[in-house]
């Protein structure tokens, strides 16, 4: 696993690497090198994919940049940091403890519909009108992801499988609710009625897109980075991610940590759903939360950052620009925006391969350890 405590080198390190490799490793080990390398690698890959698709990079890159930061688009890109960063947290928090949360779509949709339901059903005064639906959204996401925890700790069913299998039914359930009991009557569109004015997230600086959600998600990310680096809990999470059995031996309540991190991850995803619904266009529209693929953009960003909290915002920003810019490119020169998914997929495969190439030198045992079956 790439996440975890780094720097535990074996005392009897093997022979000196050749000069070229030594130089490479000096670059890799330099502070701040990881995000720079990740960005460079992603850009190279994007160029390769563009060329392979017969699209001129000279045409595509300006279109991506215009789509992401051009006139009127920048605030849209900034607003899009909310779902990407939020979904990155939803994956990263359990990932640090060695658990995979792939069910972000379900948690997102359930959180969104929970927020919409509360805002529509219970008119609340003042700040509560915003805070309560967001809390409900986070709770819904946490509960759904939390279901995976006992399956993992008591029955040995990997979270990666259970979260994913619970995701489709959750999305379907939200879709059912928005079509029938909670749907707006008479429009023929699967969406809830518009939420009351009081439940709208306050916009920042007169912007049409940027709301209070942006600073909120940034604060959450900062809190996570702080907890990960500076608190006992963060240390225990990293220890569990690095070596579960050793952490258990060291007195860490690994099962409780797995539950807590999965629930927290789910809460983040649910919260993102709530933030989307309480932002423009201020209603739950069926499919609008899951269709843009925020879940896997967040996962790709976390894996690209190798789970390191300091690098996650950087990779999230990069992939958000690619994502939003990709939509602009589609509008401008007709190249499908699924290009970003292609790049994200390739990035994950290559990062995984290179992460272990780097680790192979330190690995003592010669036997293959390519995965294990969840028995």
């Amino acid at each position: 696993m790439t996440a975890g405590i780094r720097g535990a080198r074996r005392a009897d390190a093997p022979e000196r690497p050749p000069a070229l490799r030594a130089a490479w490793e000096r670059i890799v080990a330099a502070p701040g090198a990881a995000p720079v390398l990740a960005i460079a690698g992603t850009l190279v890959l994007t160029t390769v994919v563009l060329l392979a698709a017969g699209v001129s990079p000279a045409e595509a890159y300006p279109a991506i940049v215009r789509g992401a930061v051009g006139e009127g688009n920048l605030e849209y890109t900034v607003a899009n940091l909310v779902p990407t960063l939020g979904m990155a947290l939803a994956f990263a928090i359990p990932f640090r403890a060695g658990e995979f949360n792939l069910g972000g779509d379900g948690q997102l949709a359930l959180g969104g519909i929970a927020a919409a339901w509360l805002a529509l059903a219970v008119p609340l005064p003042g700040g509560l009108a915003v805070a309560a639906p967001l809390a409900a959204a986070a709770l819904a996401g946490a509960l759904l992801a939390g279901v995976a925890a006992p399956l993992r700790t008591r029955l040995g069913i990997p979270a990666i499988v259970s979260t994913l299998l619970l995701s489709t039914p959750a999305v379907a359930f939200a879709s059912y609710l928005v079509r029938f009991p909670l749907g707006e009557q008479g429009t023929g569109i699967a969406q809830t009625p518009p939420l009351p004015e009081a439940a709208h997230l306050p916009a920042l600086g007169g912007s049409g897109h940027v709301t209070l959600a942006v600073p909120l998600v940034l604060a959450l990310t900062a809190a996570w980075a702080y907890a990960d680096a500076r608190t006992v809990l963060g240390y225990e999470v990293r220890a569990t991610g690095a070596n579960r059995e050793f952490a258990r031996y060291g007195g860490v309540a690994v099962d409780r940590l797995a539950t807590a991190t999965l629930a927290l991850g789910g809460a983040c995803a649910g919260l993102v759903g709530g933030l989307i619904v309480l932002g423009p266009p201020y209603r739950f529209v069926d499919g609008a939360l899951t269709a843009p693929g925020h879940t896997f953009t967040g996962i790709a960003a976390v894996l690209l950052a190798a789970g390191r909290p300091a690098a996650v915002p950087v990779t999230v920003a990069l992939l958000t620009v690619l994502h939003v810019g990709g939509e602009g490119m589609e509008r401008e020169i007709g190249v499908p925006s699924s290009l970003t998914q292609v790049v994200e997929g390739l990035v994950i495969v290559l990062v995984a391969a290179f992460a272990t190439l780097r680790g192979l030198r330190d690995r003592g045992n010669g036997t293959a350890t390519a995965g294990e079956v969840g028995a």
């Binding site: 299998l165 996962i299 894996l303 998914q341 997929g345 390739l346 995984a352 995965g371 079956v373």
Partner: protein
């Protein structure tokens, strides 16, 4: 057997076949000690390449052949990092799945000139057994509407069960999964067996994709694998080392899908029909695991 029952049984078989093929691949990987969760992406890639080749050549059989070849090649994207570089197969597989989703959606526009779903009356699908003059006899109602890949699936299932249990290479493969270090000490080429298992799973997923896109229906749509690869992963976990157990788990999924489809016609919301197969599969896994836990220690195998 009434016509209605036969139609239902046929629908179960149709729904089961692609999942069973993918699960068979997953089981071969599991036996070799590789946790393969890239089945979903490979299934989708197989479906896409099958439709693409059928579209280009006008022959569904070329579609099947190309899907098998292209998906075997695609599986190298998992096998090389995971086996040669010893990368985390789970992380690699997440990338492989995402790549398949992006690549197939991306290529649809230039290749088929549409987005979302491609279907055309000119697209050649697999013939049914009835059309080929096969599948007669007492089970005609069940077998007649199936594509020829359905009996092929049954044959492959039997062959895999026999191979894993009764042959030298099958035993070696299981030995590698059980204790790679010991197998290597005996002189077995662990990496070669694992490459073979992952690539073989790719070939099976190619076949599964061809059955899904040219047998079950005759079209390609974005993300049409729709979680079947994940159900296959669960089926492998349910069945453990027994091929029959894995197939039984796939049949459970097939029944759930066919039943959901049937009940939809009687007013069940489509969303419930979409959700049921995944919930039922997961529930089955939970029940089996709970039963295993309640069983006294040493009371049963695995």
């Amino acid at each position: 057997m009434s016509v209605l029952e036969a139609t239902f049984a046929a629908a179960v078989l149709t729904a089961t076949a692609p999942v069973a093929l993918a699960a068979l691949g997953g089981q071969v990987c599991a036996a070799a000690g590789v946790f393969n969760i890239a089945l979903e992406g490979q299934l989708l890639w197989g479906a896409f390449t099958a439709v693409l080749a059928s579209h280009l050549t006008g022959s569904a059989w070329w579609g099947v052949a190309c899907a098998v070849a292209a998906t075997t090649a695609y599986a190298a994207l998992l096998s090389v990092p995971a086996v040669t570089f010893r990368a985390d197969p789970i992380v690699v597989a997440v990338g492989v799945n995402l790549l398949a989703l992006g690549l197939t959606a991306f290529l649809m526009r230039p290749v088929f000139g549409v987005r979302g779903t491609y279907s055309s009356p000119d697209l050649a699908g697999l013939p049914t057994l009835a059309e080929l003059g096969l599948g007669g006899g007492p089970l005609a109602g069940i077998l007649g509407p199936q594509s020829p890949l359905v009996p092929v699936t049954a044959g492959l299932v039997a062959a895999a069960a026999w191979w894993l249990r009764r042959t030298r290479s099958g035993l070696r493969l299981r030995g590698i999964g059980e204790h790679p270090a010991a197998a290597e000490a005996l002189g077995l080429k662990v990496a070669a067996y694992r490459h073979g298992a992952v690539l073989g799973a790719g070939a099976l997923c190619g076949l599964a994709g061809a059955q899904l896109a040219l047998g079950n229906v005759t079209l390609f749509s974005e993300g049409m694998s729709a979680g079947r690869g994940w159900v296959a992963v669960v089926a492998v976990m349910l069945g453990g080392t027994r091929v029959a157990g894995v197939v039984a788990a796939c049949l459970l999924f097939g029944v759930a899908e066919a039943l959901g489809f049937r009940l939809q016609g009687e007013g069940l919301p489509q969303q419930a029909a979409d959700a049921a197969p995944y919930l039922i599969t997961l529930l089955a896994l939970v029940l089996v695991r709970v039963r295993d836990r309640l069983r006294p220690v040493g009371g049963g195998a695995s």
